[in-house]
């Protein structure tokens, strides 16, 4: 058991170290192609952290959406614009100060947090035990996440699906349904 805990701690430290290095690289590098790829790496490392937290569904989503599709879409956007970030036209000290103050405030906030993983944390004593208890009886499926997502919180999930759909509508309105020339190409092919 202790060996297991130490192993997870080592993996966590490694993942967080790489995460910080990746974040610093994203800020420093000016080549946007490299930035897009590093953002994918950042997502993949986050997915690894979710796995060590036993949040498989979240890790899965992060790896597929964050590291996969987002990277492809970013590269697609990149092909429409320039490849190099412009050097900042103003001093970087004010943004740095804002970041440091915000970060310090957030870290100060964590001092009040209950101990990580404790059994009497609010997250363990509010609705979570109820869902864990009710899912086998009422829904009869082992994946409680799916039960909460699609049944207990089905209305929220429907909202999410419509948000995804709205994102497509927004992009199509901005970029146009498809390239006019390509449309003709497709129409020509359909005739053949």
């Amino acid at each position: 058991m202790t060996a297991n805990v130490i192993g997870i701690a080592i993996i966590d430290i490694l993942l967080f170290t790489f995460l910080v290095i990746t974040a610093i690289a994203i800020v420093r590098v000016r080549n946007l192609f490299a930035v897009a790829m590093l953002a994918g790496v950042f997502s993949l490392l986050s997915a690894g952290l979710f796995v060590t937290l036993d949040a498989m569904d979240v890790a899965f989503t992060e790896a597929a959406v964050g590291a996969g599709i987002s990277t492809v879409l970013m590269l697609g956007t990149l092909a429409l614009t320039v490849r190099e970030e412009k050097p900042p036209s103003h001093s970087v000290f004010l943004p740095l100060l804002v970041c440091l103050v915000t970060g310090a405030a957030l870290i100060y906030g964590t001092l009040d947090m209950p101990p990580f993983g404790a059994a009497d944390n609010p997250i363990q004593t509010h609705v979570a035990p109820e869902y864990l208890q009710r899912t086998p009886e009422e829904i009869g499926i082992p994946n409680v996440v799916a039960a909460v997502l699609a049944s207990y919180r089905g209305f929220d999930t429907m909202g999410e699906v419509f948000v995804v759909f709205a994102a497509l509508v927004g992009v199509l309105l901005l970029l146009g349904a498809s390239h006019p020339k390509r449309d003709d190409d497709v129409a020509d092919r359909e005739k053949e």
């Binding site: 569904d57 599709i69 492809v72 699609a150 759909f165 497509l168 190409d185 497709v186």
Partner: protein, 145 residues
């Protein structure tokens, strides 16, 4: 991309397992991690991989963007429609108990149906987004990157 024979062979090997894995994640999501969102993204990723190797025109040929736009709306409507059906059967909106006699089976049916809607919308939206961006791109040589 005709000269990338390794890419073509590897993608040919990868795409069928990706599609099967997406279907597994979709329909086994009640028993293992996953569900409509993840399945939809993996399903779309398989087509995106095809397009990265064979070009956007080859992709548009097998999945017309217009069909994808319809599918993305149909998926969302399957979700909302399930809610309307349960209302017509006398339960609250998305109250799956109306779908079968046995309450546990009714819940399972409801979850499978709405997850299918989720998967359909997510897969077609991701693919449409990719096509919307990629079909605007000027043709890029490998060296342009």
């Amino acid at each position: 991309m005709e000269h990338h024979s390794i890419l073509r062979v590897v993608s040919k090997l990868l795409i069928p397992p990706m599609l099967v894995f997406a279907l597994y994640v979709q329909f086994h999501g009640e028993y293992s991690p996953g569900g409509g969102f993840q399945a939809g993204v993996v399903f779309a990723a398989a087509f995106i991989l095809y397009s990265l190797v064979h070009g956007i025109d080859a992709l548009i040929k097998i999945v017309p963007p217009r069909a994808l736009h319809v599918f993305s709306a149909v998926g969302a409507l399957i979700f909302a429609g399930t809610g309307v059906v349960t209302m017509l059967l006398g339960e609250p909106f998305l109250g799956y108990y109306a779908l079968a006699e046995n309450p546990v089976h009714a819940q399972e049916w409801g979850i499978v149906i709405v997850e299918f809607g989720v998967g359909m919308t997510v897969a077609s939206v991701m693919l449409s987004l990719f096509i919307a961006f990629a079909s605007h791109n000027p043709r890029l040589d490998d060296k342009d990157w």
